[in-house]
Amino acid sequence: MSSLSDKSAQEISDLLDEYGIKHGPVVESTRNLYEKKLKEAMAKGKRAKPSPDKTYYREEEEEVTYVYRTPAKSEASGDRGAYPRARQEWNERDYQHETSYSNYSKPKPEYNRSSYGNEPDMYDTPSTYRSTYAKSPPMKSGQDVPDAPKSSRLIPLWVQFVFFLAVAVFLYLVFSTMETNETPKGIK
């Protein structure tokens, strides 16, 4: 392989593009830096193609496939596995929201910890989803109970239900003290 310093500026530029390295013009003052970057990239054996965008989509794809494979890794997807097939459409549609929620799962646990307090950090992610979709999950909770849970989950199903009911009762209490007129019955 010919040495990088023998290549023309255009060739360096093309190589940088191949490795997906964002760069400016290859001029005297920038050339050294870009040659170093290329050497690092080649040493790492990076794929000589991708743009950062594709990596992002790839992550999304991986998250989506978790729904069907129910790995031990993501508790959010383990959560999804609990609900019956009737809800799969709803899940798939909302998965776009959830991928963004999973990005927000870091700041949210702090908020959840103060409110609920009893569950460890990683359990907060499912509760985040539950509290935001407060309306629809309660209606389905009746259907969830008879459904057999998948074996690979981080916390047992009944714990999730108990926790969910605790959240529902909590919300009910909050609403009943705040709004004197209506107490939403849809929760339970």
Partner: protein, 90 residues
Amino acid sequence: MSTTSQKHRDFVGEPMADKPVTALSGIGETLGKKLEENGFDKAYVVLGQFLLLRKDTEMFTDWLKDSIGANSRQASSCAQCLKEWCDAFL
């Protein structure tokens, strides 16, 4: 709000005009001399390099480290300083 030094605030607060390289945040006497040896004798020349690297702070940081041996803190401080200056004036 990130903690910025007085030097940073001084630089970012006004057009850089003919300020020396040592006016840049993170660039002291030693690094300033090295920059001058490399032909970067004024802050605006360093700005030129920053712009050539498309205002990419990471790339610029790497360049500073490679060319004058700045450490991570100094380099990122300088990069951030230039970036904010550009956001305000460019």
